[in-house]
Assembly symmetry: C2
Homo-oligomer: 208 residues x 2
């Protein structure tokens, strides 16, 4: 396989020199274009052009357009699930667990903003059985939030809300961040996560 020096990434004030394969380049450009214009509006020609190759060359790396979408969404799903698993299994208090899970979610989402937009919005373009497989992955993730909420209610730390409804409301609030988050904005992901956790856990109303 041929590699090419593609980009230099600054992260956490350390310099990484990352060698990106052609396949990864295609995935990154596809994620950018699909998140901006949507799956159907993004053509193989668009993707090829932004990478700097001919459309037919894309088919040396992927068998179909849907395969590209699948790899982006699956990688994102795995990052979300892996990102909170150790927190869920820790022995933190419910409150700390939920806060850490919310921060982790926002950090993963903002770090993979394009892929996350696809994870959240473009799954309907999967044909079966991928569509079902994907729904299953999302449910595994949501179930981890439900379990922590149920545990919190049992331990008398949370109010007696419906855990399914609670998990959905939390994830709803978190997932919308991709609609307005800008890497250049004032708030850093961790800060956004902290503020969201604070608001969702304590509510908007002033206690007596």
């Amino acid at each position: 396989m041929t590699f090419q020096l593609y980009k230099i990434i600054f992260a956490n004030e350390r310099l990484f020199c990352y060698i990106m394969s052609r396949k990864e380049e295609i995935l990154e450009q596809a994620a950018l274009l699909i998140s901006e214009k949507g799956y159907e509006a993004t053509t193989i020609r668009d993707i090829a052009e932004s990478v700097g190759i001919e459309p037919s060359s894309v088919y040396s790396h992927f068998d179909s357009k849907e395969d590209i979408l699948w790899e982006i969404a699956l990688s994102c799903a795995n990052q979300f699930i892996e990102g909170i698993t150790s927190i869920v299994e820790s022995d933190l208090t419910t409150r700390s667990k939920l806060t850490a899970m919310i921060i982790a979610h926002v950090e993963i989402l903002t770090r993979n903003l394009n892929a996350a937009a696809i994870f959240l919005n473009e799954w309907r373009h999967f044909s079966e059985p991928r569509r079902s497989d994907f729904a299953h992955l999302r449910d595994i993730y949501e179930a981890k939030f439900r379990a922590v909420i149920a545990q919190g209610i049992e331990q008398n730390a949370l109010r007696e809300v419906d855990e399914k409804f609670g998990a959905l409301t939390i994830l709803s609030a978190l997932n919308w961040t991709y609609q307005w988050y800008k890497p250049s904005g004032e708030m850093k992901p961790k800060e956004i996560g902290e503020k969201l956790a604070e608001l969702l856990l304590n509510g908007l109303v002033k206690p007596f």
Copy 2:
């Protein structure tokens, strides 16, 4: 203009016999298809077929595919804005105002589920100047939430949250309902709105 008897709608246990014009039929079917498959994936042929006319006949009612999208999204935006204006201008307490606004939002969203999905997700397919006009409409709506939150903080009824952040979080939680709401489900829109308002206003954590 020719009208045709199209459908019988049961609502609030009263029977309405509604005469729907061809144009309204096209709008309804387009909203259904676009909300399911997305704007680009929905073709004029799909829409025409589901209405039972030829593709070219659609162009007797609309000048372009984008015009159809625009009418659906604009009508939805106006419903949202009109739905909360009288509440915002009332002299209810902040808490009651926000609860009423949240319930109204969920009711409008669930009553126009397909149009709302388009309002929330398909606006990127507008070309300028529509895209900017649409963003302006959404901001007018969000500003009403921000204003109520700011008023609530001033009156010491709400905790001192960033009003922009608070409004975004509320609307995020509300807007995701279109992803999981089913008219056949157990919870009615008003109940969903009440539970969401309760959760967002009081928070998940048990007070001391």
